[in-house]
């Protein structure tokens, strides 16, 4: 259902130690950010690209699709960097005059934007390496070894399980609404969305009731051990 999660279980690097993968990804990301050079960022991106597509055997077209997920933010966030104000025209490559101010694209802006683009792509590629090759259940073990509070671990483990249950319920309800033309126009869409949220909320509470019984039946003693 969540495609990144799916790949994290079926990729070819799944069997390697999650600890190694975790330190590799975080280490590479931090190293790049500290050195802050766009050639290094480029190299990191390429290394991860090869590891993900050749090592983990994630199809190239799928990986490119994944890279598009954060693209909208990247695109929107770049605009303010590229555009800037100034009192003189000299610093601008292209500008328009508004009263006594100039507004346009500066060389510095382009440089800044390019560096940011490289940094973001290199960092996101490290994250992708980690999340596409290491399933959540392995990551939890890594967190556990780093002495993250036990309560956090417990909640993460439970949440991970419940997310898929609720997500399935959620998708089914949306399909059922769609089949009854629930999203045919804006008015019905609003009605559908709000009833969907309410329905899901009630389901959450009902589920809690049922889970309490089965928890007790299984001899729960207060802790969700790992």
């Amino acid at each position: 259902m969540l495609i990144i999660d799916k790949y994290s279980y079926i990729n070819e690097l799944r069997k390697y130690s999650p600890m190694v993968k975790f330190y590799f990804a975080i280490g590479l990301m931090s190293f790049g950010m500290i050195m802050n050079h766009y050639i290094l960022y480029g190299i990191i991106f390429l290394v991860n690209f090869i590891l993900i597509t050749k090592g983990a055997k994630i199809p190239v077209n799928k990986y490119i699709k994944f890279l598009c997920i954060p693209f909208s933010f990247l695109f929107l966030g770049m605009i303010p960097l590229l555009l800037s104000f100034g009192k003189e025209t000299t610093q601008f490559i292209f500008s328009i005059n508004i009263k006594r101010m100039y507004f346009g694209i500066t060389k510095q802006g382009i440089q800044e934007a390019i560096l940011l683009l490289f940094r973001s792509l290199s960092c996101i590629s490290c994250t992708f390496f980690l999340i596409l090759t290491t399933p959540m259940n392995d990551l939890v073990r890594v967190f556990q070894k780093h002495r993250i509070p036990f309560l956090v671990i417990e909640l993460m483990v439970l949440m991970y399980r419940f997310i898929f249950i609720l997500l399935e319920e959620f998708h089914n309800l949306i399909i059922a609404q769609d089949l009854k033309l629930g999203y045919i126009n804006i008015k019905s869409s609003y009605r559908s969305v709000s009833i969907l949220v309410v329905c899901l909320f009630h389901r959450v509470m009902d589920r809690y009731q049922c889970l309490q019984y089965s928890l007790e039946a299984r001899g729960f003693n207060g802790k969700f051990y790992m």
């Binding site: 969540l2 990144i4 999660d5 990301m29 931090s30 500290i34 997920i69 954060p70 909208s72 933010f73 990247l74 929107l76 966030g77 303010p80 800037s84 104000f85 100034g86 610093q91 500066t106 802006g109 800044e112 940011l116 973001s120 792509l121 290199s122 960092c123 996101i124 490290c126 994250t127 999340i131 959540m136 990551l139 309560l151 417990e154 909640l155 993460m156 949440m159 399980r161 419940f162 997310i163 249950i165 609720l166 959620f170 999203y183 804006i186 008015k187 609003y190 969305v193 709000s194 009833i195 949220v197 309410v198 899901l200 909320f201 009630h202 959450v204 589920r207 809690y208 889970l211 969700f224």
Partner: protein, 232 residues
């Protein structure tokens, strides 16, 4: 009454037209902030999250089964954030769920669960990021919920009609979240000649102003949800 509704819908429609099509995944992405700012926002967010965690620890100490409820609520918020709010232009936006969550569960629970939700979003959806977790937590899980919570309860105390309280809380929670995001970006990338304020203007116009119609949508839907919840 019916006519009034149509006026509202018409207004909404026009607002939608001017909203850009790309309006989802507004968490600050991986690598967007320099290490300095990552750390800074992490440190700022930490005490709030810790407070939330201590509160929750008290609850689950008395009733360990409540852990399940918290995890269910966390999963619920995660799933809501994957919800697509429909709009006229055919584009979609994701609600923050900040207002609803804050009204239903209180801001301190939200700040702690919020971190977990953001972490899951980074790991399972590649929305946001690990390095920017602190910054995103501060905007989505701390400031947004607190503003929504106080807006709701402040207005309720002033005997304002419930619907308006809910609407303002949800819309404001959404809007403030993105205003904080814009501020965070402006701090990290000040304008070369106009400095922070210049940058704030630029980022606000992209990350906050375009969010106004979406905040209104979220407000309306939250009101509908709230009323349905009261009904049953």
């Amino acid at each position: 009454m019916k006519r009034k509704k149509w006026v509202v819908f018409l207004l909404m429609g026009t607002l939608f037209m001017i909203t850009p099509r790309i309006t989802f995944a507004m968490h600050i992405m991986e690598g967007y902030l320099s290490p300095k700012w990552c750390l800074f926002w992490g440190i700022i967010a930490f005490p709030f999250v810790l407070k939330g965690m201590i509160n929750i620890k008290h609850i689950v100490k008395e009733q360990p089964k409540k852990k399940m409820l918290l995890a269910l609520v966390g999963a619920f918020v995660f799933v809501l954030s994957a919800l697509k709010l429909p709009s006229v232009t055919g584009s979609c936006s994701h609600p923050t769920g900040v207002g609803l969550g804050s009204i239903l569960f209180g801001p301190s629970v939200m700040s702690f669960l919020g971190v977990l939700v953001l972490l899951f979003q980074a790991i399972l959806l590649a929305h946001g990021g690990i390095t920017t977790l602190g910054a995103n937590t501060f905007s989505m899980a701390i400031v947004g919920p607190i503003v929504a919570y106080f807006a709701f309860h402040g207005m309720k105390k002033a005997n304002i009609k419930k619907d308006y309280c809910v609407f303002v809380a949800a819309a404001l929670g959404d809007l403030v979240t993105y205003m904080v995001t814009a501020t965070q970006l402006a701090l990290a990338y000040p304008d070369s000649s106009l400095g922070f304020w210049g940058a704030l203007g630029k980022f606000m116009s992209i990350f906050a102003i375009t969010q106004i119609p979406l905040a209104i949508v979220e407000g309306i839907i939250t009101v509908m949800v709230y009323n349905f919840l009261l009904e049953c």
